[in-house]
Symmetry: C2
Subunit: 267 residues, 2 copies
């Protein structure tokens, strides 16, 4: 895949990307692949925790926008495409009792009849909309991962799932920040509008240059900082719940779905 | 009118408000009257400047959202209601050669066959939407006029009309500022989304506590400052153009139209 141009990556269909992953021929982050298709965060957990986790998502829709939920033991997500969730993501994180014990390239040896799959929206859709509007996203231009921070904003708990909201940060010139707010609000399945703008300290972020996840930020003088609810929030809740088994994607290695990237609702 | 309750003012129709004004029985600012109807800034000027002024409005739609334009010498604006523009605004400012020479209660003695009327959107519609969302607007709670400032943001000139953009400022808690941006963007005829947020100095405002127009601001610690293009912008352009005659409303004494307050387009 290293020979593929950026344009070729973008013009692939979601099904083509999934096929390459399934065949073991694509082992890089999915950013920039299959432009126009919605990518998803992945959470897989045992059925007995599924209704609590679903409730957690519904109570925290900005962090955990629900795109689709599978049936127990069934590795398909028919509403999101012709998907075998055991093979169609390039890298999976396996958690046991809340600890990340291994990263695997498929779930063939791990899959169980009681596992339920959740696909949650990610920020790519609104970032694409911002880029299409001609607005620079500093971490993308700098070829960095988005900076992410733990905050003092609580989630609404459900069963064993709780914890604080994790946010991603994007810095903009003030006029661009206004547009970024307006554009992101149109993508509720991609975390929607920011949860905070301005002073990081107000949401409990002490050192903006030392993110808890991702890369250090790129901030220019006069920038407005925007903080969006982030897909790491459910991952943190999942770890804290210490389930016997839980599976997520490795950050950046998303599930590429057949949903159009500008889908605003799946209900 | 002093005996009328706030609720009674709000529940009046636009036509009822205009009738009371026409009969000389309502001589207070129109804020809070005829809730649900769009109020307008007024500009009246000689026909030979009308096409330049129209172009100025079209080139600066955030400052000068055009609701309606009259025919030369005709005091009606049929698209906006059964209006006689000579009598249906409570107070008019009369400018000669760019100087405010008098404030009058009707235009009977001043009206000419070459005068053209422009009705421009004002901020009441988006402020109503913000209040309906349960968000405090500090200057309204403090019973003050909105603070307004000259900026270094240029307008796009047309003929004799030019000058810098005047903005109104509203301060919010960060989460409320995000909502205020999203809500105001839905009202392009009420100045739309802000033109700036954050540091006032970036748009040339040196002393935030000394507005150029209106009352001093109410700002709480941690507030995000939002700056919206303001209807004083065309008034300033009008003064600088030094026309032989120009007429506007006295600030706060608006034209109350029959348009629903949530009208998003008049084209």
């Amino acid at each position: 895949m290293s020979m593929e141009s950026v344009a070729a990556r973008g013009s692939m269909s979601a099904a083509e990307v999934r096929k390459m992953i399934r065949q073991g021929r694509l082992r890089v982050p999915t950013t920039g692949f299959a432009e126009g298709f919605m990518q998803a965060n992945l959470v897989i957990l045992p059925e007995r925790h599924a209704s609590d986790f679903r409730l957690f998502c519904e109570r925290n829709p900005k962090s955990c926008p629900l795109l689709g939920v599978g049936e127990p033991g069934v590795p398909g997500l028919p509403e999101l495409g012709s998907i075998d969730i055991r093979t169609d993501v390039a890298r999976y994180r396996v958690y046991r009792s809340g600890t990340h014990v291994e990263t695997v390239e498929n779930l063939s040896d791990i899959w169980r009849d009681d596992l339920v799959t959740f696909a949650l929206g990610c920020s790519f859709s609104f970032e694409s909309a911002i880029l299409r509007a001609g607005i620079d996203i500093r971490h993308i231009s700098a070829n960095r991962n988005v900076p992410m921070y733990a905050t003092n904003l609580p989630t609404s708990p459900a069963g064993p799932f709780a914890g604080s909201t994790v946010v991603s940060m994007r810095a903009f010139r003030p006029a661009d920040a206004i547009q970024a707010i307006i554009l992101s609000e149109r993508y509720p399945l991609a975390h929607g509008a920011p949860v905070h703008i301005g002073d990081p300290a107000e949401i409990g972020i002490k050192e903006i240059n030392r993110p808890d996840y991702g890369d250090p930020p790129v901030i220019e003088p006069g920038d407005i900082l925007g903080f969006w609810a982030c897909g790491v929030t459910p991952q943190l809740a999942l770890q804290q719940a210490k389930l016997d088994l839980a599976i997520t994607h490795e950050p950046g290695f998303m599930l590429v779905t057949d949903l159009p990237a500008d889908t605003q609702s799946v209900r």
